[in-house]
Symmetry: C2
């Protein structure tokens, strides 16, 4: 089952729309769509967003951060003060690059990860990392240009890239992340087709959906391969600070200012509802990137910028990151324990060192999309693996998120899922 | 002086960047830019954004709404309550279409303008109208496709459209707005070139920058011309409720649900800092438009959505609109009086019935771009007319905004501007 078929099949408001659209398929306006409009896909993650919030259902689908440990009462008072005392600034239009204080603070966040030379002048505050991914594809890719990415990779990035008719090609990973030799081979293959490769999109730390991390040793090798081949690296690092133990690995951007366009996010270290992230752009690429951001939203919200800025200035944000790490580590352990206990033979999974996700592999021949319906009936939900790969093939993988669910619910969710996966494994064995 | 030259000339942080970029023009990454990257321009409005906030300077440039009449103390307490009591929702990811309550409330706002049949299911909440303009160009326009627009039109829309390599063509206006016969003629001319026209982008009420309003009588004529020619209308109506006297004119969308993609904004009836607007999309076009919005930002900020929703639910928002109308009417009068008093012969201007702007025309042969520097030296600032027209020609027009400045400052700003315009008029007379 493909992503498109799935979107059409799941019962959702947008499904009704799809039906309406099909009914109106012969509408005279059909010819008005751009070519790229036909490349814009439904995100499987968003598909299950509405389902996930049904009462009683245990969602192992959405990669939502845990917010209950935020000091909501205090944050409320901070927001009150911002509007009461600085409302004329917070509620007005702001500058297109984002506020200078927040850009300085983004540099502090990056310094905690090992990027020590970031300059606020090279930063654009974006409407989440999603917006930066959209702008990157816009600024760098003509139709048919290639973006290389990990297999699997973030579905939202795939949707953003494919909306620009980008030809997204995957590079194999192993337990140590992107395989440098495989990257070189893929570059040669793609170029032999006469294609132009513009970007390598990578989530080197705790990849979404696989949880896999690119080893420290490979990071510089990947940068050098890309430099030699004149491919810009788009490094997406929303989870970098959420390493369960030890220091965060230095991002690829550290020490490679010219080679990497780095994307940061306040969603996982603070809160997604503010819809703010940032791009640290190589200086020679900054102006066009920044202008494209401005053409898309004029400016990021001054109100939410001021809230994030106050949070980073006045609260123990690093303390919150540390307690989040422990919490996610514990939940990850719970999920690994539940998988150990309940999964049938023939099913394997990753053991992440940080982030939000575990990637489960079923035997060849299993298609995880139809299993989703059975899971929903059984009271749990996951994201089928096909969502995280370009193209239309079936997938024997699935993503489980442990970030937003208690350890008890994680155990129960995996317990509910187990008989469905067992039956699917048994069915392919019989075949 | 063209828009690009202007951007390069004005002393701004981005100017430094332009210089850096030129210095790095031979960087190996230069070849990575997409074709569309070279169509992404600096907005003249944004150019003067930083200048406008210099102390002592009277800015007649930015179209910022007046926010001092908002109850900031109370709004602060509302924000506090939202975060303290509903923080887990406000700070988390939300649905891609936007919250249902806010979509219902957008229908109420539109009902106040005369759109009585809007359905919340046909609405997408967007990151300002700017984002909806970006998505419209993305979903409908291939490179070289034509969007028709008023001459002059909103610079932000021009920037959004041109970033997709859209061929933006203008249709002449008179005091009654778009001239239907001129529209038909332009459609024939453009088609004779073998071009495909996808959209008519129009700001029918109090056009930015001209302040001109499309007469009630012409509105249906324009809709019917577009329907006959299979051109979708993109109706941008941020100022519709800000008519100084009498009832708002019904938008073109009223009664034409199939023909018009309507863009609304909370920026002018509430506050731009929340970065929220909405698109009311013909049902047969909804799904692709919505998916494209989602691919760009995942979801609009739940936090700012809940703040706008609370404002529309708990405050006398229409009372605020009414008092804003009076205030803007008074400021517009002050500006008209100052223009009457100070402008030299040969200079003319529009007399708007609402909105934020007056459009000033100097004699043929005057280029208003270089006058901006003189104006800044004299302590005031405006937007040169060339910003509001596609292409690279000089313009003898300029935009003055009366929305964000007191009547006293308006009088003083126009007084400062007058000798500069007088000298420019005298210079072309001599020639």
């Amino acid at each position: 089952m493909t992503r498109e078929e799935f979107s059409d099949a799941v019962e959702l408001p947008v499904d009704t729309m799809a039906a309406l659209e099909r009914a109106a398929g012969s509408h005279r306006h059909e010819v008005l769509f751009s070519n790229r409009a036909f490349h814009i896909k439904q995100s499987a993650v968003r598909d299950v967003f509405d389902i996930s919030i049904r009462p009683g259902l245990i969602s192992l689908a959405g990669g939502s951060p845990y917010l209950r440990s935020l000091p909501l009462e205090e944050l409320g008072r901070t927001a009150q003060r911002i509007i009461a005392e600085h409302g004329l600034e917070a509620l007005q239009y702001g500058g297109g690059q984002g506020m200078e204080e927040l850009r300085r603070q983004a540099c502090e966040v990056m310094a905690a990860e090992g990027i020590l030379d970031a300059d606020p002048a090279d930063i654009v505050i974006t409407t989440g990392s999603q917006s930066a991914q959209d702008v990157a594809a816009k600024v760098f890719c003509d139709p048919g240009d290639v973006i290389l990415c990990e297999d699997p990779t973030y579905v939202g990035a795939l949707n953003a890239f494919e909306a620009y008719e980008v030809d997204v090609r995957t590079v194999p990973m192993d337990d140590g992340g992107l395989v440098p030799e495989a990257l070189e081979r893929r570059i040669r293959e793609v170029r032999a087709e006469g294609k132009t490769i513009k970007l390598l999109y990578t989530i080197p730390s705790f990849n979404n959906p696989s949880g896999v991390t690119l080893t420290a040793g490979r990071r510089q090798a990947v940068v050098e391969i890309c430099r030699r081949n004149n491919i810009l690296i788009l490094e997406d690092n929303p989870y970098g600070l959420l390493r369960f133990d030890g220091e965060p690995l230095a991002p690829m951007r550290a020490g490679n200012a010219q080679d990497v366009l780095y994307l940061g996010s306040f969603s996982k270290i603070f809160a997604p509802g503010v819809r703010l992230g940032w791009a640290l752009v190589p200086r020679h690429l900054y102006r066009r990137f920044y202008l494209a951001c401005e053409a898309v939203v004029l400016c990021p919200s001054p109100l939410t910028q001021m809230l994030v800025s106050a949070y980073l200035r006045e609260y123990d944000w690093m303390g919150h990151v540390r307690s989040s790490r422990s919490l996610y580590a514990e939940r990850c352990s719970s999920m690994l324990a539940a998988l150990d206990e309940h999964m049938p033979e023939g099913v394997t999974w990753t053991r992440p060192d940080g982030g939000f996700f575990i990637w489960v592999t079923l035997p060849e021949g299993v298609d995880t999309y139809p299993l989703l319906y059975e899971a929903i009936d059984a009271g749990t939900v996951f994201i089928p693996g096909a969502a995280f790969t370009p193209g239309e093939g079936a997938s024997n993988k699935l993503r489980l998120a442990f970030s937003a669910v208690s350890s008890e619910d994680i155990a129960e969710g995996v317990r509910r899922l187990a008989p469905i996966l067992s039956a699917a494994v048994a069915a392919v064995k019989v075949r």
